[in-house]
Point group: C2
């Protein structure tokens, strides 16, 4: 295993030290492993928190800041944060208008966020709403989930719903919007190589030199099938077809993300995006906004995922609203 780390046990602690040193706009609670905004949001704003296992950077810590999250809880690599972390974050960010928990559908995350919501509500009287993302069309149930996995839409949701919260929308509206965004998006990913979890020291799975894993999960969970290595055009088709088969994306503007899994260089992501764009155009989908890069990653995995969101004018307006995080920044 060749990694730029000190030792497998301290990866998260060391990364949090680096994040704090690099970004004066963020505060890090090293004990509870929470990344906050340096400038807390104003009282009366609905607060957004998310979190999950580490190894998916910039998700979620990179999306803390004006226009997106108020805090992110970081678990160990590919391991859910604890209810304590989430409860602590909920209490610190609550400005009296309640807190939205944004939870990717993985059993550990869902359970722990549920417990945290209950604790925050019972012990501190904080209103908490939760949205569980489940946009991955690859598999119905998987290694770590009942139901579909929550993946790329989480990034788009944090942006759109973050803008709504910043405008002063109340908790019920913000939660309803979050559910609508999740329901309107579908994703599918693929891997050319496995990732390697530092503590494991070896690749999560074996993938022969001439095969790829279609529908892979963001922790290297098995997808739909192993298929022979194919061209970017064929890969794009294998990713986009199941997405289009699952939801009608015509007749509305779409927001499209071509996401890198962490180990694939940007030049290849652009090759893939070009193919995805062509397929969507041919299918009558109007791409109104797009995002190409590493946004929800799987450590050093080579591969990519596609997320398509059926938007409307309101979603586009919120998408375009100013955002100032270390992972997404515009209009500021």
């Amino acid at each position: 295993m060749k990694k730029l780390i000190n030792n497998p046990e301290s990866v998260l602690a060391d990364a949090l030290t680096g994040i704090e040193a690099a970004h004066p706009s963020l505060r890090v609670d090293h004990v509870n492993r929470i990344i906050y905004r340096r400038d807390p949001a104003q009282r009366g704003k609905v607060a957004l928190i998310s979190g999950g296992g580490s190894g998916h950077e910039p998700l979620h810590g990179g999306f803390v800041g004006f226009g997106m999250l108020d805090a992110a809880c970081a678990g160990e690599v590919f391991t859910s944060p604890t209810p304590d972390q989430m409860q602590e974050a909920t209490q610190v960010v609550d400005g009296g208008a309640g807190v939205l928990h944004i939870v990717k559908n993985y059993t550990g995350d869902v359970m722990n966020f549920e417990m945290a919501a209950e604790l925050a509500s019972v012990e501190s009287g904080i209103k908490v709403e939760s949205v569980v993302t489940n946009d991955d069309v690859a598999v119905q149930d998987s290694t770590w989930t009942a139901g579909r996995r929550g993946v790329g839409v989480t990034v788009l949701l944090e942006k759109i719903v973050g803008a709504a919260a910043e405008e002063g929308q109340d908790l019920a509206s913000v939660a309803a919007l979050a559910r609508k965004v999740n329901d309107s998006a579908r994703s599918m990913g693929m891997a050319l190589t496995s990732c390697t979890v530092p503590a494991a020291g070896k690749p999560t799975f074996d993938l022969p030199e001439d095969e790829m894993e279609m529908g892979v999960g963001i922790h290297g969970e098995p997808g739909r099938h192993r298929v022979p290595l194919a061209s970017a055009a064929e890969i794009a088709e294998q990713l986009v077809d199941p997405i289009l088969a699952d939801l009608d994306f015509t007749g509305a503007p779409a927001i499209v993300m071509l996401n890198g899994m962490g180990g694939t260089p940007l030049i290849e992501l652009y090759v893939a995006y070009g193919e995805v764009h062509k397929i969507l155009a041919k299918a009558g989908v109007t791409v109104a906004r797009s995002l190409v890069g590493n946004y929800i990653t799987s450590l050093d995995m080579a591969g990519c995922s596609v997320t398509v969101l059926r938007a409307d004018d309101e979603a586009l307006r919120l998408w375009d609203a100013p955002v100032n995080t270390t992972g997404l920044r515009w209009g500021i």
Copy 2:
């Protein structure tokens, strides 16, 4: 070779198609392989162009836009663009105030940009100034260079000098500032793994599982020495020490970039940045601004580089000025 491409011959053409589809703010000349701003800069502004072999994305095309470059010429992977491309770009972006060529010190790039400058001057009467970056302290001469290689400072220079050009500074001032920025910065990189050039189909070099290459070039050129795999803290020391030995960075604010080579995930880059920051603090260097991520890459190489720029109030002011490119964006 596992890559998200259609075939090794069409990587650049396909990536340019993807870039154009993804970014309505850019225009792509597919014949000449030039990326321009969709909205040309106003007449009277000094224009900035750069370029080089592809495979270093987001450099340079990702830095085309308000506050940085006016155009970028893309060569084949790790191959210099031609004088024709550079001449064409120079003519298109010239707004009457002259054009600055930003050239990384690689023999092919330097020769071709020189020829392009002469052609543009003789045939079209355009005033051209050039700056050749050579910030890499690793080796004096290397596979593709006489003198030091130009690496990370190129990113910082394009930002700072781009802001000066946007303010209306004249060609002589902009060129002088560019040379000052280059002279004030030092870089050093390392590789955990080789990169694989698509057309070659196999890794550029062999690196045993328990070794790393210190001082590696951005095309996988040999560095200073192979050493045993070490911790992020030791790697940071081996990168920062030669930088600090080469120039005095105390007594002035520093801009620091911890750059990923393309195949290293963000969580590891933050681990490395944390160590770099500690070493700089201990050495009395005041980090005023920092940048952590993939900015000048080497395809899928795992590894990182450190760039330190001795700045001043004026450089910080220009650094903080609004920028709106696909690779760097703030204040807009």
